[in-house]
């Protein structure tokens, strides 16, 4: 299933760094997201455009993960030649990530894309 089914997201920018929140709609799904939406998987999913590093910060009481993507914005918002200089749409791109359905891990992970870690 797509991450979009379990979580919502917003991206922000500072310099050449993007941060993307991933927030569980249902608090009960947070642990599942924390297990399957790792920094490694996010880097692989969005890795085509960024040379940098991805760090994850966890906020269990909010049911939220915060991903910080260094070097993700084409040298910085104010000088990027990208169509979406702020990387605002990175949030929606991340929600395309395939994750196993809660409770059906074995079946789902066999169909997960090769980009998963």
């Amino acid at each position: 299933m797509k991450l979009r089914e379990l979580a919502h997201s917003r991206a922000g920018d500072k310099g050449d760094v993007s941060n993307i929140s991933v927030i569980a709609y249902a608090p009960a799904d947070y642990a599942w997201l924390a297990e399957h939406v790792t920094a490694t998987r996010v880097l692989a999913h969005l890795g085509g455009i960024m040379p940098g590093r991805v760090t994850r910060f966890d906020l269990p009481q909010l049911g939220a993960l915060n991903f910080v993507l260094e070097g993700a914005l084409g040298g910085g918002v104010t000088r990027s030649t990208a169509h979406d200089q702020h990387g605002k749409s990175l949030s929606s791109s991340l929600l395309e990530l395939e994750i196993p359905e809660p409770g059906q891990e074995k079946v789902a992970s066999s169909t997960a894309p090769k980009t998963s870690s």
Partner: protein
């Protein structure tokens, strides 16, 4: 228990005008704050000021002040804004002129200056933050350098009786924190309260982004009446805990989910949100439903601030040229791809010197960064986009020209050509010793 009510009248320079009037008239506010100064804006404003010393403040300041000033003054709502941009004193003079024209003689308008650190930074060999490099890399092309001031000078202006406080560069949350410090007499080393106040400011500073703006995703996250979106206000207690809400009957919604998205917006490590007044810690923030369109915020904290202040440096960076053209119907993808190959070959052929060249297919991969899904049906229309960085405006214009010439030299059926070239005023950041920065508060009376 004393509660103060702080409204957020704008989330960026070009934001909607009338939600602030709604807040001023119906929000029972004590303060109305307008955050209008993006990173790059101050460099553009500095250029404007050099061309005409009476300018350099936010171009929408007159319209915003004309809209809200009477409602604010009549209800005792004090206004705080960074619309002073590169020239807070000129913004104060303009505000005084507007106040007089509205018959609001006697109001006191303060300017906060001292954020301009261009001379200090120009000769300093400091490392950049958030990007690679050093100040010296951009020193010769520097337009402006402005330090993020804290709440201090705004509090001074409020204590000095200002009805309106106009700043240049200050930390965005500091504009909201200042009235809390002023009203509750918080100590400058009460780090937890300063951290909680910073959290409230952070939640309010993007205005509609916490009341349902930038949130809707039909079928997943539906939001009522975004055309009539109400802007937020916070009811803040002496402890720094607060309720985020909006004017009853206005569009949008304040929910746990809208607040969660905004807590993390433009935040890196939630335990280390660096501001001029405090290192705020959002890592243990808790939210609670407090009725319709009301969310209670608690659990914010803080630690002693750093010895440095962040500085935004605006500089002449480069030029960007861009061209676009659309293709539709059967074979649209193949013709669009052919068009991109042609332009790429042409740019080589004419020997254009360009970096960061991009060949995008709008509708397929121009903003989406996820891996392409190849089994999707071909789009019914696509738009090519070619963009690149050059050293001159003349070279930048050639990129769009090469796209435009696809009309008579490219694949069949291309339409809607568009081209554009512009100078890039870019921004980088560094840190300077806070002792080098001296804020100044001055007043004029209408």
């Amino acid at each position: 228990m004393k509660i103060i009510r702080i409204g957020s009248g704008a989330g960026y320079s070009g934001d909607r005008i009338e939600p602030a009037l709604q807040l001023a008239e119906h929000g029972r506010l004590d303060y109305l704050v307008f955050e209008c100064l993006a990173e790059r804006t101050i460099a553009l404003a500095q250029q404007a000021r050099r061309a005409d010393p009476s300018t350099g403040y936010d171009p929408l300041l007159p319209e915003r002040m004309q809209t809200v000033l009477r409602a604010c003054v009549e209800r005792g709502v004090r206004v705080i804004t960074n619309m002073g941009a590169a020239n807070p004193q000129a913004a104060v003079r303009e505000t005084v002129r507007i106040a007089r024209s509205l018959g609001l003689e006697g109001i006191r308008v303060a300017a906060v200056t001292g954020d301009d650190v261009t001379q200090i930074v120009r000769n300093a060999d400091l490392p950049l933050v958030e990007t690679q490099g050093r100040v010296q890399d951009v020193a010769e092309r520097m337009i402006s350098a402005n330090a993020y001031l804290g709440a201090g000078p705004i509090v001074e202006a409020l204590q000095g009786g200002a009805d309106v406080v106009i700043t240049g560069r200050v930390g965005d949350p500091s504009m909201f924190l200042a009235p809390m410090i002023h009203e509750f007499n918080w100590a400058w080393d009460d780090w937890n309260r300063l951290g909680r106040g910073t959290l409230v400011g952070h939640l309010l500073e993007c205005a509609g982004q916490i009341t349902g703006g930038y949130f809707a995703d039909p079928g997943y996250k539906d939001v009522p009446d975004l055309a009539g979106l109400g802007f937020p206000l916070a009811e803040v207690a002496e402890t720094g805990e607060a309720v985020i809400t909006k004017v009853e009957g206005s569009g949008g919604q304040v929910t746990l989910a809208t607040c969660k998205e905004q807590i993390l917006y433009e935040v890196h490590d939630p335990a280390n949100y660096l501001q001029p007044d405090v290192i705020a810690d959002f890592s243990n923030v808790r939210l609670r439903n407090d009725g319709p369109d009301r969310v209670a915020i608690s659990g914010g904290a803080g630690r002693v601030h750093t010895d440095t202040l962040k500085v935004s440096i605006g500089y002449h960076d480069s030029y960007i040229g861009e061209g676009q053209m659309s293709y539709a119907g059967p074979g649209a993808l193949a013709r669009a791809q052919l068009a991109l190959h042609i332009v790429e070959a042409r740019l080589k052929l004419i020997g254009l010197k360009s970096t960061d060249l991009r060949f995008d297919l709008i509708g397929l991969n121009s903003v989406n960064r996820a891996p392409l899904i190849h089994h999707e049906p071909e789009p019914r229309e696509l738009r090519i986009r070619v963009a690149g960085r050059t050293r001159s405006l003349r070279e930048a214009m050639r990129i769009g020209n090469e796209v435009e010439t696809l009309y008579t030299n490219g694949p069949a059926g291309g339409g809607g050509a568009w081209k554009f070239a512009r100078e890039v005023i870019a921004v980088v950041s560094t840190l300077i010793d806070r002792q080098q920065v001296r804020p100044v508060v001055s007043y004029e009376v209408a």
